[in-house]
Amino acid sequence: MSDARGLSRQQMCDRLAMEFEDGWIVNLGIGIPTLTSNCDFGDKAIIFHSENGVVGYGPLAAPGKEDMHLVNAGGQHVTLNPGAAIVHHADAFGMIRSGRIDVTVLGAYEVAENGDFANWKMAGQKGGGIGGAMDLAACAKHVFVAMEHVTRSGRPRLVERCAIPVTAKGVVDLVITNYGLFEITPDGMALKEIAPGVSVDDVKAATGCNLIVPSEVPPVRLRG
C-alpha cells in the first residue's frame, strides 16, 4: 500500500490548481491529475483542453445524463462549458505542439532534480503507455506533476536521475506529492511547502535526491 500520510489526492490537486492563472488553458493527464477538474477556481476562468479535441469541458456528467459522444482524455463522460469547441486529434495536438497549452498536470513514476521525469514505462517493461504525455511534456509552457511521494514498496519517486526511460528531459516545474510541494530550480529540488503531519526529516528520508530546504518551511496552502 502507498503511504497514506499527508495530503489526500484531491488536496494535492487543489494545491497545484492555486498556481493556475486566470485564462490558462490546462491539460490534465490520467490518474491523480484528473481530480484537478473538481477544484474551485474562484473568479479565475480556466479552460480545460483534452487530447481528443474537447476544449472547454466542464464537470463530470451526472449518472444517466452522459452524452455518449463526449469524453475527456481519460474516457470520462464530461459536460461542456459555454464557449466550448471540439476539434480533431491533429488540431488538438497542434494546440499542444504550438505552445498554446499553459500547463499540463501529469502523473509520474519518477521526477529527477534536473526536471527529467518518467511516466510511460516501468523498469523492465516491454512497451508501455505514452498516450499524449510526450507531446504535452515537450511543448506545454509549464509541466506540473502530481504523484504519491513513494512507490508501493516505499522507494522514493523524487530522485537524482531517472532510472527508467524518461518522457521528457528538463521540463518539470513543480511537483506535488502527499508530503509537500517541490519546485525544480536551477540549483536542484526545493521543498517549498510541507504537508500537515509530515516533518522535514520524514520528507528527506523518503526522497532520493538532495533537497533545498529553507530554515522555515511553510505548510501546504489549503482551501477552506
Binding site: E51, G53, H69, H88, H89, Q125, G128, D135, V166
Partner: protein, 256 residues
C-alpha cells in the same frame, strides 16, 4: 452514375480486405470507435494485418463481449500494432495484446499520440515526413534523425499511409460527406484522409445529397468510400452506460 458507396451490411463492406494490409481503427475511448466493422473483420479473417489505433480496448462504455482489436489479436490476424499504448490504460485491465507483444508473437510500434495523429494527417495531406519536438531526448528517439531549428531539437517522423480506415460517424450523405458528433471526430478524419479505402459505420440513416449543409461537413466524401448504417441494438453495437452494461450482463446470466 458511379457505384453507390452504401453497403448493405458490415460483412459486405469488409469482404474484400486482403491479408498483409495496414488498417487504421478510429475512435478514442469508444467514441467514434468502429465496433461493428471490427467485429465483421474478425469474422472475415484477413491475416498478417498491421493495425493502427490509439489503444486496443477502448473504454468502459463497451461491454466485455463487444468486438475490439483484441478479437483480431486473439484470432491471430495481427502482425503488428502501431499505437500510443501497448499496456492497458488501467492497471486492473489485462490485454491479450500486451501478452502477445511481450512474448514476441506480435510486433508493436509505440508512438506518442500527437505524433500518431500527425503522421496520418501528413499522409492524407501529401507530406512524406515532418519534424516534431515530441519524444526528443527519450528512448524512442535513439538512433534516429533529429535536426535543430531555431535552436531547438526536433525528431524526424514519417507519414503513416493506410490501406484501409475503419471509422464511425454520426451522419453521412450518399457521397460520404460526414458529420461527427461531439468528441467523435478524434482520429477519424485523419485516418480517412490517410487511407486508400475508408469504410464508415454511420449512426443515423444515410442521407440524400444536400441534406447536410456544406458548412456542416466535417470530412469531405472525397475521403470516404463505403458506408454502412449501424442497426439498432442488439444487432448493432452502440456505446452503453455502466448501468446498461450491468443490466445486460445480468440478463445474459439469467437466460443462461
Amino acid at each position: 452514375m458511379p457505384k453507390s458507396k452504401v453497403y448493405v451490411d458490415f460483412d459486405a463492406a469488409v469482404a474484400d480486405i486482403p491479408d498483409n494490409v495496414t488498417i487504421g481503427f478510429g475512435g478514442f475511448a469508444v467514441v467514434g470507435q468502429p465496433v461493428n466493422l471490427t467485429g465483421a473483420l474478425a469474422a472475415q479473417g484477413a491475416k498478417s494485418l498491421t493495425c493502427v489505433s490509439n489503444g486496443l480496448r477502448g473504454g468502459a462504455t463497451l461491454p466485455d463481449d463487444a468486438p475490439t482489436l483484441e478479437w483480431l489479436v486473439k484470432n491471430d490476424q495481427v502482425k503488428k500494432v502501431i499505437c500510443a499504448f501497448t499496456a492497458p490504460t488501467r492497471a486492473s485491465q489485462k490485454l491479450a495484446f500486451t501478452e502477445y507483444y511481450e512474448s514476441g508473437r506480435i510486433d508493436a510500434e509505440l508512438v506518442p499520440q500527437g505524433t500518431l495523429a500527425e503522421r496520418m494527417r501528413a499522409a492524407g495531406a501529401g507530406i512524406p515526413a515532418f519534424y516534431t519536438p515530441a519524444a526528443v531526448g527519450t528512448e524512442l528517439a535513439e538512433g534516429r534523425e533529429t535536426r535543430v531549428f531555431n535552436g531547438r531539437e526536433y525528431l524526424l517522423e514519417e507519414a503513416l499511409p493506410l490501406d484501409y480506415a475503419l471509422i464511425r460517424a454520426y451522419q453521412a450523405d450518399e457521397f460520404g460527406n460526414l458529420r461527427f458528433a461531439r468528441a467523435q471526430r478524434n482520429f477519424n478524419p485523419l485516418m480517412a484522409m490517410a487511407a486508400k479505402v475508408t469504410i464508415v459505420e454511420v449512426e443515423e440513416d444515410i442521407l440524400p445529397l444536400g441534406a447536410i449543409d456544406p458548412d456542416d461537413v466535417h470530412l469531405s466524401g472525397i475521403f470516404v468510400h463505403r458506408l454502412v448504417k449501424v442497426p439498432p441494438a442488439p444487432e448493432g453495437w452502440w456505446p452503453m452506460r455502466a448501468s446498461e452494461i450491468a443490466a445486460r450482463a445480468a440478463q445474459k446470466g439469467a437466460s443462461r
